[in-house]
């Protein structure tokens, strides 16, 4: 069931970074204001909102949509707050999509904001010996980059990926990031510079793992009829997918301690499921995609997700990267914004920031990093406990 077509009519974001003098409401309100301005509407025109929340703050953070709404004045509209790990922001987008596609409202605002502690993400909650996430931190001390490193080394053994490939992924992202005035880290790195950065969890190095940062992004969706009154450059939200993991997935998922030796499901099955759902909704396949904003949390993610999204066969991403095909101007530009590698990662906002970047490409507003003739863009998020999301946008 597809419902009514849904159009992105406004996008906005607060810069990514660390803002000790600001509250998350300041960040979220800036993103909302930018999105409303982009669409040419006011807060009073917004009939519904879905907000991602974040787990590092207090009650206000858990009720983020209401706290951000208060900044503009309560209007009595339906506000839903969602949390879905790395898929939080895109889950907000998906809920907002349904508000419009179902015909309930002609517009809906999706917003995501995140303010996180610096450094490694640690255990959240009370010590619980029956919580495997607690056990992994307490008894093993395996960090998130540690999990990714274990996957990266498996990949090296399976496909011949080398440390130079891992470094090259950062080089590619940083090259794009250097062209993006909104990116936080704008230095274009050489392969040698990346290889000279300290090992964090070998084979992954400091420059090959995205930093955690704070940020907020907002996207205003509306019906096709409403869009005609607001814009001459409608961008369609053609597909939005949400996936959970499948039994038999060989990935040792963050916060778990085991996986099957013989797989009976794809690696990162939650992301495969999310992407498949979005492809089906949009009625397109990987060959139709012109650009991808994928979750480059680490260089392993960068290579793995090119394959997970079906953009090439297993083990072929290294070759695409080496041949420059993942750069702007290549066959399939990966993270033309510079990705999380250049912005940092603000978990509950990242999925919507990706949508903002794809929309600017499809509108032809991407400045120095503009792709020629891009018509179909895909965003993909990672998933801590098997929740992943995908959005497909078309001109």
């Amino acid at each position: 069931m597809r419902g009514e077509p849904v159009v992105v009519v406004g996008v906005g974001s607060h810069p990514w970074g660390k803002f000790p003098d600001k509250t998350f409401v300041d960040l979220g309100a800036t993103a909302v204001q930018e999105a409303l301005k982009d669409a040419g509407v006011t807060w009073q025109d917004v009939p519904a909102m879905v907000s991602g929340i974040y787990v590092w703050g207090g009650t206000d953070a858990l009720n983020a949509g209401h706290a951000i709404g208060a900044r503009f004045g309560y209007t009595g509209i339906p506000i839903t707050n969602v949390f879905n790990m790395c898929a939080t922001a895109t889950s907000a987008l998906r809920s907002a999509y349904h508000v419009v596609a179902s015909g309930e409202q002609e517009m809906c605002l999706a917003v995501g904001v995140d303010v996180s502690p610096k450094g490694f993400f640690g255990f959240m909650g009370k010590p619980d010996p029956m919580d495997t996430d607690y056990l992994r931190f307490r008894l093993i001390g395996l960090t998130n980059p540690g999990y990714w490193a274990i996957e990266a080394r498996k990949r090296m053994a399976e496909y011949g990926t080398t440390e130079r490939h891992l470094a090259l992924a950062k080089v590619a992202c940083s090259k794009h990031g250097s062209l993006n005035p909104a990116a936080l880290f704008r230095k274009a790195y050489t392969q040698e510079e990346v290889l000279n950065s300290p090992l964090v969890a070998d084979p992954l190095r400091l420059l090959e793992i995205c930093a955690t940062r704070d940020g907020a992004a907002a996207v205003l969706l509306c019906s096709k009829a409403k869009a005609r009154t607001l814009t001459t450059k409608p961008i369609h939200l053609a597909g939005v997918g949400l996936g959970s993991c499948m039994q038999g997935d060989p990935t040792v998922r963050l916060g778990t301690l085991c996986a099957p030796v013989e797989p009976s499901a794809p690696r990162l099955s939650e992301s495969v499921a999310a992407a498949q759902m979005a492809y089906n909704m949009a009625g397109i396949g990987p060959d139709d995609v012109d650009l991808v904003e994928l979750p480059d949390n680490s260089s392993w993610h960068y290579l793995q997700y090119i394959e997970t999204l079906g953009l090439c066969g297993p083990g072929e991403a290294d070759g695409l990267l080496e041949q420059g095909e993942t750069l702007i101007g290549g066959k399939i530009p990966i993270c033309p914004s510079g990705g999380a590698s250049s912005y940092g990662e603000a978990i509950s906002a990242q999925g919507l920031l990706q949508v903002c970047d794809v929309v600017s490409q499809l509108r032809g507003d991407a400045g120095q990093r503009q792709l020629v003739g891009a018509r179909v863009g895909l965003t993909q998020t990672y998933g801590q406990l098997g929740n992943s999301s995908t959005a497909i946008l078309t001109t």
């Binding site: 610096k118 029956m130 931190f137 008894l139 001390g141 969890a201 039994q247 040792v252 099957p260 030796v261």
Partner: protein, 203 residues
């Protein structure tokens, strides 16, 4: 990912060395704090050599005593779980999952080990966040993913042997690792992997 050393109070980890076979371990590191000498050492111990088998529970919370591994003589095994009907496997035993379509509640214990094959590994060069017992200075340590013949892969600390590099495909054996967090005196006992001798004997 960023790392800020010194942003939290210094905590030292003292690893107790119970009576038993000391297998390997880096040198003692002795540090002087304001009031006292504190000693820190990561030392690997086998389960005590007793004639009768004993089951040792890892006690994370004395009120609950959830069991993750057992030691008998010098043999250490992980306690996983398996569904008697659909044969899904999981570790720890309470982390129950089923193959699609199965609703059985017949969960049985499944002992894993004492040996397996290293399928991947990493060495972490920065201190993990709490609740991992923080040491200062921090010594890098390794973590491995080990495949057991039953068909399940489990992660755990990987104990190095001086001068020997890890390699995927290494046969490893389970050992018990004990540490005491000097900041609060709590005892932590965990499973770990170390290279098994080529001839399969325990040392």
């Amino acid at each position: 990912m960023t790392h800020s050393r010194g942003s939290r109070p210094a905590r030292l980890t003292q690893l107790t060395v119970p009576k038993g076979n000391v297998l390997s371990g880096p040198d003692w590191v002795v540090e002087k704090s304001n009031q006292q000498h504190r000693t820190r050492k990561e030392r690997l111990v086998a389960a005590p050599n007793e004639n009768s088998s004993r089951v040792s529970e890892i006690v994370l919370d004395p009120q609950r005593g959830d069991q993750l591994f057992v030691s008998a003589d010098t043999t250490v095994q992980l306690v996983g779980g398996r569904c008697a009907t659909c044969h899904s496997m999981f570790f720890p035993q309470f982390s129950i999952s089923h193959n699609v379509g199965c609703t059985s509640d017949e969960i049985e214990q499944m002992l894993l080990g004492p040996t397996g094959v290293l399928s991947s590994y990493t060495t972490q060069y920065y201190s993990p966040p709490p609740p991992y017992p923080v040491t200062d200075p921090f010594d890098p340590f390794s973590v491995g993913a080990v495949a057991f013949p039953e068909g399940i892969e489990v992660i755990g600390k990987l104990v190095p042997e001086p001068g020997v590099a890890f390699a995927i495909g290494d046969r490893v054996e389970l050992v018990e690792l004990e540490l005491t967090d000097v900041s609060d005196g709590s005892e932590i006992r965990t499973w770990a992997f170390q290279s098994a001798k080529k001839d399969g004997s325990n040392r």
